[in-house]
Amino acid sequence: MRSAVRVMLFYVLLLLIWEGIFRLRLWPAFLFPSPLQVFRTLAAGLCDTTYLIGIGVSMQRILLGFGISLALGIVVGFCIGSFKILDGTIGPLLNGLRSLPSICWFPLGLLWFGLNENAINFVVIMGAAFCITLATDDGVKNIPPLYLRAASTMGARGLKRFWYVIIPAALPSIITGMKLGWSFAWRSLMAGEMLYVSLGLGHLLMMGRELNDISQMFAVMLVIMVLGLIVDKVVFGLMEREMRVRWGLNAL
């Protein structure tokens, strides 16, 4: 309880400092808004649904892109983790591709798909799929051999072995990969949405710039940040916590 109060106090203080700097008029108001201005813009944007539409559009895109990345990453990751030949050939290639910042895929995406939805999806997938693939691969490779031996003496083979042993045993690593993949996908999406009239949050941010509306930019950035945090902490955070409690990893 006391820590909650401390946190609250910290943010109140932060807002006061922000307001204080604003009042000092170090920069003109169109470059540095007051917290109240930002809050008003945020409330207005949420009320007249432009932000809600933006959130909806962006979420839809990321669900699609992240979903495809997840499916691709897990399937390919399991294949690499299971077959030595793939590990030696595709593995290093994927590792190299992962180190490429996802924005670097934009020129290619624009040429291949044009300035549209598909280019954005392409970049989101390129941003997220590699790290999910490699995390899954890592998870499969690091399964203690004893688990596999025990499973095989109990008659687990083929699909059953895959479904009931390999997947759950690799799950902690997969969840870590998903979390990382999500944050990469989110960043790539925001970058992609700035490119054209995409209606998403990235577009709203860019619109703030075009209209010279500094408080809109601050408000949209706040929305992007909060959304990213919520998914990271709530969705993946809960998954991770549940897994850690089950496996007893917190005790270590």
Binding site: S152, T153, M154, G155, Y164, P168, L171, G248, A251
Partner: protein, 265 residues
């Protein structure tokens, strides 16, 4: 027909050599062993005598270089639920509850859900862990984990239960309790058990037969029948006598191994 004399397992001329980085390590040489149905056979020997390798070969986890391994007259080629192994490390799955772990083998066999739950609970009762059925494995002590592993192995109802030093990582008290429980369970179920250990007292206490192995390469040195009545008690006079006798057999082997190790070093 006399049930006591049905041949369950027959190993003939089994040899295995491991290829090290520089040298070849002969693990087993010309092992021949027969196990009858319902027998409790303890394999004992100094470390490095290949007793665990032998167990892995029976399990189908390791393939021998030469020789035949037959169960009920059929060659063993791969691991299977008719020969469940209980490992030194419990090898329980951390993503499953105690109950889920015990049900696992039955699930692989395709036993319907209600039936396997009921059976799993019965076996958990047998190892006195009913109260912990919904716990995850990290919440259990070492002895409790091995009890779950035992319940898991028994629930699959294997033809042969293979045990690879299952109690050796436990503290002395848990070990004695589990040994007593295993003796009781064997007396009830008359399961065929091959039990690897380096503890002479344990071998004499549990086995109908104690097979003494020599090291490098692993050979069978002596096959001793233990005819003591059950339930046996650790520390009874007869037990001590037999234990000393087996110890004598083993002492020479242990000394040889020690000398070699000192020499190597």
């Amino acid at each position: 027909m006399n049930l006591d004399r049905i041949m369950k397992l027959r190993l003939a001329g089994v040899s295995k050599t491991f290829l090290g980085r520089k040298n070849r390590v002969p693990a087993l040489e010309d092992i021949s062993l027969e196990v009858q149905k319902g027998e409790f056979v303890c394999l004992i020997g100094p470390s490095g005598c290949g007793k665990s390798t032998l167990l892995n070969i029976i399990a189908g986890l390791t393939q021998p270089d030469r020789g035949s391994v037959l169960m009920d007259g059929h060659p063993i080629r791969e691991p299977g639920p008719d020969r469940v192994v209980m490992f030194q490390d419990h090898a329980l799955f951390p993503w499953l509850t105690v109950l889920g772990n015990v049900e696992f083998g039955m699930k692989m066999k395709g036993v319907p859900k209600e039936k396997r739950r009921a059976l799993a609970q019965e076996f958990l009762r047998m190892v006195h862990l009913t109260a912990f059925q919904h716990a995850y494995t990290h919440e259990l002590s070492g002895g409790m984990k091995q009890r779950v592993a035992l319940a898991r192995a028994l629930s699959i109802n294997p033809d042969i239960l293979l045990m690879d030093e299952p109690f050796c990582a436990l503290d002395a008290q848990s070990r004695e309790i589990l040994q007593a429980e295993l003796q009781e369970i064997w007396s009830l179920t008359r399961k065929t058990i091959v039990f690897v250990t380096h503890n002479v007292r344990e071998a004499v206490y549990l086995g109908n037969r104690v097979v003494v192995m020599s090291a490098r390469p692993g050979r069978i040195k002596k096959d001793i029948a233990i005819d003591l009545p059950r339930p046996r008690r650790l520390g009874s006079l007869e037990m001590i006598k037999v234990t000393n006798m087996v110890m004598q057999e083993l002492r020479g082997e242990i000394e040889t191994v020690l000398k070699e190790e000192l020499h190597d070093a």
